[in-house]
Symmetry: C2
Subunit: 390 residues, 2 copies
């Protein structure tokens, strides 16, 4: 039994990520839900699940808001009441945190948390516009800045101050693409090398095409309960031992430092404190690599290395599958795909598989403690969760 | 001290509702927040408020998602972490419920809950389209049905089965318009009579222009804490003694009965049960009169009268300010206005004023227990809260 668990995860499911033509967001959610139900035969979904808390970034992709009761209906959970949480790209990590609170509050004993986004039905210009809504309208969007541009500002600041190179960033893409070849649910299952990344076209310098995460369709879910009830449903629960949430200004223009995300540091501090551990005790992590620079900054803000040493950490191979602290075993947003509202849940799913020895070709041996870090927008929101096996 | 309170409300604020030209949603939220802070001088917002949980229906009106950290920033609360909840027109009642859970969970001691919507910057056709996103895309929106049409289906079914008349519905408008003349924050402060409602142009028969709520700008907020801490901040808290949440199918086409909202009955049952009271003990209520028929159905589903007797209840004048169970003292969505994401908070605000004897010209004497009922879409979501003075 893990140290002082907040709640237990008794099952989890994830749709295949990718261009899922002909399937709507709600259908992808059913795909994820059926996996979670199938893995947990002792649970009667309609009888046992008392609420659904789900994340979705945007109503615009499918011209569909009020998504939460729709998913509760399609997954066969009604009358289980449902809400949608939106914190941009961190929407489903927010759902995890408020799912935990819903149980700790004593109101519910068993809740499903979920996340979904359908994106590939839209043209690239539409996708860019809808995503940009997570940046500040009057002071960012209105001036034409979109997310590659915002993260490019962080990248150039990091390069200038710490000597981080384009090759360091490319190495993140190489690692995560490799990991994705071992993940059958990943969107993009092809290796890349540093040269290929460096030669790809510039999106917002220094970020090139292969520094950017993918536009994907996908959905995920997990079933949470109180630790004392978990063994009713499974012999191999995963415990959530830490949860943290930080917010910061939506606009980069209001921040003092572009080389760090304050919301990540706040969320990590809360999560580590709750879990009673330090970064050194984390065995594996899924972090928010929406752009390659974001993974390097995450290493630093989460304490996997010192400030400015993210480039060195990837260079030393420490975050590869066989490194000291494997990061983005799933392929990350970079290569597994980034269906926005599903990403937080997909991170949980990977850690759930790893801690229960179900990650097959990409399994990290002997891992006991996992961490997920999910960032909204350019860092106005961040959620960190820490998990322990059994 | 109230019976078994869940949490305490120590302050609340509401912006003026209406066509607030030149002001953005975040600025309206600051207007509401400053009122709440001003009413509670013992609270240090930046130091004491640990999280913000807010509701907003749509990112489309202002081309702005990721609203929650933006509001935390503009209201001076950062680094207080923030989330947005969306359950269509019930978004900020959802924020209230999850604000309660956040406190009950032990994670936070003091949270702000809020809601906002900026709507009047858009043309009528855009407003109709954005609101329709809360209906089912493939099976409702796609067929051209919008909300007046959906509620017209409920109205005709109710007329057919129970003999409810257009005049009954018009009487709801007359009452709520009268109440709004006594509310300086109401959008529309003009009396109407039954003839005027009956002569107004048909929107979706039997619903006419004056049967429909208003498109408005507005924001609201409240500050919640645990009952044992409330007296640190105020001598006159209001206690939340019951909370309930129900969900139903998003599509009307999936329901057996158009004359009742199942989600309301589920939410009411949970809230009454938690409070340990019955409908008879409710002194005042703010209910979701997005269309006049919705108020009549709410009387029935909340147990203020028997099934099918909503028309008789309004006819008897029982829900007027001087009636047995005054409803929508504020003017309701009908005349105070319906800035979607702010409506749940505006209902709380009115009950807060009434139970603390601050409702001036529309004060109901001797009220001790108040109820709010906030519905999302055509009833796929509903939240009921019950409040008691001191």
């Amino acid at each position: 039994m893990a140290r002082n668990p907040l709640i237990s995860i008794v099952s989890a499911g994830l749709s295949k990520f990718g261009k899922r033509e002909g399937l709507s967001g709600r259908e992808l959610f059913v795909e994820a839900a059926l996996e979670a139900f199938g893995k947990c035969p002792k649970l009667d979904p309609k009888k046992d699940i008392q609420a659904l808390i789900m994340g979705q970034m945007s109503e615009s992709f499918e011209h569909q808001g009020h998504t939460a009761p729709t998913l509760s209906d399609w997954a066969g959970l009604l009358p289980a009441p449902a809400i949608r949480i939106e914190t941009a790209c961190a929407s489903s990590a927010a759902a995890i945190r408020y799912g935990i609170m819903a149980i700790l509050s004593g109101i519910y004993d068993v809740v499903m948390v979920g996340g979904v986004e359908k994106m590939t039905n839209r043209a690239t210009a539409e996708v860019t516009e809808y995503l940009a809504m997570a940046a500040d309208f009057p002071f960012e969007q209105w001036n034409g800045v979109t997310f590659p541009g915002l993260f490019a500002l962080m990248a150039t600041a990091h390069m200038h101050r710490y000597g981080t190179t384009e090759e360091h960033m490319a190495s993140v893409a190489v690692k995560n693409h490799h990991n994705a070849t071992l993940n059958p649910k990943a969107h993009f299952q092809r290796e890349v090398n540093v040269e290929k990344v460096m030669e790809s076209r510039v999106i917002a310098w220094p970020l090139k095409l292969y520094d950017c995460s993918l536009v994907s369709d996908g959905a995920g879910c997990a079933i949470l309960t109180r630790p004392e009830l978990a063994r009713r449903y499974t012999d191999a629960p995963v415990q959530v031992i830490g949860s943290g949430h930080g917010s910061d200004t939506i606009g980069l223009y209001e921040r003092e430092d572009y080389t760090t995300l304050k919301s990540v540091k706040i969320a990590a501090k809360e999560a580590y404190g709750k879990a009673g551990i330090t970064a050194r005790e984390v065995d594996i992590a899924e972090v928010h690599d929406c752009f390659t620079i974001a993974e390097l900054i995450a290493y630093e803000d989460l304490g996997f290395c010192g400030k400015g040493e993210g480039g060195k950490l990837i260079e030393a191979g420490e975050t590869k599958l066989d490194g000291n602290i494997p990061v983005n075993m799933s392929g990350g947003l970079k290569a597994k795909g980034h269906p926005i509202g599903a990403t937080g849940l997909a991170q949980l799913y990977e850690v759930f598989l790893q801690l229960t020895d179900q990650a097959e070709g990409r399994q990290v041996d002997g891992c006991n403690i996992g961490l997920t870090e999910n960032v909204g927008g350019s860092g106005a929101s961040c959620f960190v969760h820490i998990y322990e096996e059994g």
